[in-house]
């Protein structure tokens, strides 16, 4: 029987690898999901036939699976603007599962079978519990911030980093002591409490603009806690699948960090997004504003229009109006492209999914590095709810907190139209020079209403 179990796990690992491999192209991506589902089924069946499971417990396992599905299905119906929250919540569940299994494993090693934990397994167990529970509370905090249940502004206090790093250091010392001598088992609950606390404290200073990076890091932790579980249970499937997830989170967070020109430590301990006290001294600058009708007329004259979406588009749920505008413009033979900044929105790839939801072909979604060389030839750039990712201060102003961050060069285009509610600075709290430029026209109002108005003016004049 145990050979069959190992073969099932082997097949499952191969399928997981194919599942991720097929994600390299939207054409094959759905096959990737099918492979993932198959892999998971094989893994679960391979586990259920394990002779260590006693027959009377199958009904309880079935019950748990049914309850889990009952929670999971509604969670998959969330609107796409709420996908970042759902993802964070899902990381929390993953961390919780790993943590609980770790707790059970730890106490089982004392109460039953007389088998002592080896140093290696004890260390892996500590890592599993630490990562699991810090992912649990950290992700709950992230989900709370994204859902705006918890204040989204970063909260900082004096000595915050010392408290956080000190807490982590104490937890790691506890882990080392426990792995050296498992008879100090009274330490174990402290590790759990410290991990839970650290998860909360780590997320308190994180602002909205850093969410894509933090979500990716938590994704990685959820995978690594599964790896640690695999070390404890000597289960290779847990290790391979967990490592795939861990490396995915790692790659995504590196991409996010690079797109913001910041390091991991800077994201986690830098408390980005505090309003600069100095911003008050900026001299009175004038802004030119325009009505949606003016904007429609300007766009009508253009040959190429580039739309730069940002988190504001997600908040206003404006993607379907953007689609109407896209239809009106393409109908007139105007080339429309979307410029996607890697950190636009609240998670990696957020904008792509929203625009795909509105039926905009993915072939018109262009990455920042590909669109920037074309910018000087672009007639009109329409900024919908983006801010920092088009702020030229990132290139020019050395004192700006976002200096060095790669941006979409909207200011190189011939005309810029920016839709914005008010002149308040964005999430990062940084003034945007782009709005004061001569070629920029501000269209004030709700993104959804304004884009809808522009589309209406365009259709009204020609039909």
């Amino acid at each position: 029987m145990s050979t069959w179990i190992q073969i099932a796990y082997l097949i499952s690992t191969a399928l997981f690898i194919f599942s991720l491999k097929w994600m390299n192209d939207p054409k094959t991506a759905r096959r990737g999901v099918a492979a993932g589902v198959a892999a998971m089924l094989v893994a679960v069946i391979g586990t259920l036939i394990n002779p260590a499971i006693v027959a009377s417990n199958y009904k309880w396992i079935a019950l748990a699976i049914i309850i889990g599905s009952a929670i999971g299905v509604p969670l998959s119906w969330v609107p796409l603007t709420a996908v970042p929250q759902r993802t964070a919540l899902s990381h929390a569940f993953g961390g919780l599962a790993a943590g609980l299994v770790g707790v059970a494993e730890f106490y089982l090693s004392f109460s039953e079978s007389g088998q002592e934990l080896s140093h290696f397994r004890a260390a892996a167990l500590c890592a599993e519990v630490l990562l699991g529970f810090l992912t649990f509370t950290g992700s709950l905090m992230a989900a709370g911030k994204l859902q705006e249940i918890v204040p989204t502004r970063p909260i900082t206090y004096k000595g915050q980093n010392i408290v956080n790093i000190g807490l982590l250091a104490v937890a790691i010392v506890c882990c080392i002591v426990l792995s050296t001598d498992v008879s100090y088992k009274f330490i174990f609950p402290f590790i759990i409490v410290l991990a839970l606390l650290f998860g909360v404290l780590l997320l308190i200073p994180i602002g909205g603009a850093d969410m894509p990076t933090v979500i990716s890091i938590l994704n990685s932790y959820a995978g690594l806690s599964a790896v640690a579980m695999g070390f404890v249970m000597d289960n290779k499937l847990l290790i391979t699948a967990g490592a795939l997830d861990g490396s995915s989170g790692l790659i995504l967070s590196i991409i996010m960090c690079k797109a913001m020109n910041r390091s991991f430590t800077n994201v986690l301990f830098g408390a980005f997004g505090q309003i600069q006290a100095a911003s008050a001294d900026s001299q009175q600058k004038t802004v030119k504003s325009a009505t949606p009708e003016d904007a429609a007329q300007i766009m009508e004259q253009a040959n190429t229009v580039v739309i730069v979406p940002g988190y504001g588009m997600a908040v206003a749920q404006a993607q379907h109006r953007v689609r109407e505008l896209y239809d009106q413009l393409t109908k007139r033979g105007i080339t429309v492209k979307f410029a996607i900044h890697p950190v636009a929105g609240r998670m990696p790839g957020h904008m792509n999914v929203l625009l795909a939801e509105a039926d905009i072909p993915y072939t018109d979604l262009v990455e920042m590095d590909d669109i920037n060389p074309e910018m000087p030839q672009v007639d009109v750039v329409l900024v919908v709810g983006a801010n920092d990712v088009v702020n030229p201060a990132a290139r020019t102003n050395k004192s700006s907190p976002i200096y060095g961050m790669p941006i979409i060069n909207a200011d190189k285009a011939k005309t810029v139209l920016a839709i914005k509610r008010t002149m308040n600075p964005g999430f990062a709290g940084i003034e945007n020079e782009l709005y004061y430029a001569d070629k920029t026209l501000m269209v004030f109002g709700d993104a959804k209403a304004v884009v809808g108005d522009i589309a209406k003016h365009l259709s009204g004049e020609n039909s």
Partner: protein
Amino acid sequence: MKPSLFKSFAAAFAVLAAGGILSAAAGETTGEAAAGTVQHASAAGMDYIPIIFVFMLSTFVGLDIIRRVSRLLHTPLMSLTNAISAIAVVGSILIAGQQHSEYKFNILGMVAIVASVSNIVSGFLITDRMLKMFKKREGSKP
């Protein structure tokens, strides 16, 4: 792959290996492999080296595959890996399914199953829902 990434990995695996050598040197005693409990393989000596191998190789495979994932699909990728990381369901089932001296262990396992299964179900369903929306130009013309 960035050289710095390689460096950090080399460092991480060096730490793991060093930890292994240290604990081996500390004269790790062999735990009695418990009969009946399958998930506890022998904890003897250097038995953990093969699983560190597995971890190292699968991490390199993972890094290389993920690097090739289309940037368009990063959100679906994340929900797919959510579902994959719910592989913790394997450990949860083993804990919940075995005979234990006290029920509380089975209950911990069951809660873990609920959490992981909800991740599996919602992760795969929402990934597929998102991927269905990615269309090429031809297909989307009314």
